[in-house]
Amino acid sequence: MNIDNVYIEKRVENHSNTQKILERIKFQNIIICNSYSEVFNPSNQNFRIQKKYPSLILAKKENSFIKETPPDFTIGYKKNYYFSHMLNCPFDCKYCYLQGMFNSANYLIFVNYEDFYNPIQTLIKKNKEKLCFFSGYDCDSLALENITGFLENLVNNFHIFDGGFLELRSKSTNVKLLSAIKPINNLIPAFSLNPQFIIKEFESGTPNLVKRLSVIKSLQEKGWNIGVRFDPIIWLGDQSRYEFFFKEVFKDLDIRKIHSITLGSFRMPTKYLKKLSKIRPSDSFIQSAYVQQSFRRSSKELNNEVKSFCKKQILKFVEKEKLFEN
């Protein structure tokens, strides 16, 4: 991967993960900064431009390693948390909320991976119930693994998740590492899916549906239980196309090797959507969603209809215990 500029926080300049990451990429400049926030947070920068010319920022995360997910966000476990070793992702999905959440599209990697482990272990030990952790909430879990090496590090320390579960959510087909190791029961690779016509229009830079399905199939054949994520399912009407999509998804997959399925509609906090409407002014999907919010018109009714249709389709193939609505 070619990244022209790498910003490095002075305090992680000599961190072993920093050195490893620098060995994995080609770059033009290293720019030392005091804190990643000097580069990542300033307000008057443009997400769309940086999407085209991303830089890499290597930093140290100091606190808030683990956060609770919103209520109802679950794949079957009562207590759910997420963590982000990285912010932003190389894909460019039109509906992605990160565009509304961050000022910068630069890839920010927290290189102190080891500091995530203690809080996870402590949380698991403190709770009697099974906990589930999500990675890939503020990034794509697998897309930049070749650079970050985060998953490799995690797998080598996976005992910390004993008594808990970890979901790695991705649109990437970069599963080299997962293919090479023995399946781990409490590690759930999960793949986000949408119909191909949606992928083409909304998920720029991502692998197509056929590739994603083929990767799921190959991991299932190796013994992995896979999460299938229809979240958000982007709805453009015409039920028959979605009916065809669900058939296409489930016809080749091993249903027994599906850990869980989630279904969610497009939703976004008003503040983020307002920002998106500014940076994607010619996108009618985003503008239409923004109009709905401007008129404080609830899209719940439509969303419920869509979800209920999708649910019906999914339940043709999978038992209802595996389906979760987010």
């Binding site: 022209d4 500029n5 910003y7 033009q28 400049n29 720019i31 030392i32 900064c33 005091n34 000097e38 580069v39 300033p42 008057n44 920068q45 443009n46 769309r48 431009i49 940086q50 085209k52 010319y53 991303p54 830089s55 409407s277 500014k278 940076i279 994607r280 002014p281 010619s282 996108d283 009618s284 985003i286 503008q287 239409s288 923004y290 109009v291 709905q292 401007s294 008129f295």
Partner: protein
């Protein structure tokens, strides 16, 4: 539009010639030159002058947000060769210790950090030494997205040698010899600017004031109409002005546009 800011007329002269600029005022504070699409302001030396001249330029050229801003000037460095040109990737203000990080990911020009000093600095180091960048950047970034604000410096002195700063011809030649790189940078910044699709936001604001000047809108109605216009322009190129009834109020016209857009 591209706004060049230089500290002295000697540094500005080559830019005036590259782009065939004409003087637009003979202001005693800041001289401004321009042609279609390019302006040049002579700020005077120092970061405060630099910051003030950005503001002056912004107001002189119709307060247009997201124009391209380039601070071009001479700088010292420990060992870089006289005449070498650099894009600045990090600016440190020597008095406040505040850092700024211009966006240089788009350019193949060599980039380097610089320190903005209050006074001339002859204690050369690994950073460029100069006196305007921090004031310029802080100020220009108020009016334009960070990616469009650039600092371009040409080495004029180092530990071993220095140009004669009174020799206008020498300064002219130093800058003129980098003409191609400067023009290439302008071209690449124009391409980057295309990604900021704010033209229709500005257009919508203008159209709104124009079309509905006789119609009363509440604050909420105004926001709603603008969001509908944004959706309209995401779908269509031209606004059909007969969509509206100018004798009716804001709420009526909102409903008309909603019907048209099938919302």
């Amino acid at each position: 539009m591209i706004h060049f800011l230089v500290a002295t007329l000697s540094e500005g002269r080559p830019i005036i010639d590259f782009f065939d600029l004409k003087i637009s005022n003979n202001d005693s504070l800041f001289k401004v030159y321009h042609s279609a699409g390019i302006s040049l302001t002579i700020s005077g030396i120092g970061k405060i002058n630099s910051a003030m001249s950005v503001i002056k330029t912004f107001f002189d050229f119709n307060k247009q947000k997201n124009n391209i801003w380039i601070n071009l000037g001479l700088a010292g460095h420990k060992n870089h060769r006289i005449g070498d040109l650099f894009l600045v990737n990090k600016i440190k203000d020597s008095s406040s210790n505040k850092m700024y990080y211009p966006f240089v990911a788009h350019s193949k020009l060599k980039s380097i950090q610089c320190i903005t000093y209050e006074k001339e600095n002859l204690d050369y180091n690994e950073s460029l030494s100069e006196m305007e960048a921090s004031g310029f950047f802080y100020s220009a970034n108020k009016f334009s997205s960070l990616e469009l604000v650039q600092v371009l410096k040409i080495i004029s002195d180092n530990e071993k040698e220095s140009i004669n700063f009174n020799d206008k011809h020498k300064i002219y030649d130093l800058i003129f010899s980098n003409k191609k790189k400067i023009i290439n940078l302008c071209d690449s910044l124009h391409k980057i600017k295309e990604n900021i699709e704010d033209y229709n936001l500005q257009y919508i604001n203008k159209e709104f004031e124009e079309i509905f000047k006789g119609i009363k809108f509440s604050f909420t109605e105004k926001q709603q109409m603008k969001s509908l216009l944004k959706l309209y322009f995401a779908r269509y190129n031209f606004l059909k002005k007969d969509l509206f009834n100018y004798k009716e109020n804001g709420s009526f016209n909102i409903q008309m546009l909603k019907n048209f857009l099938r919302i």
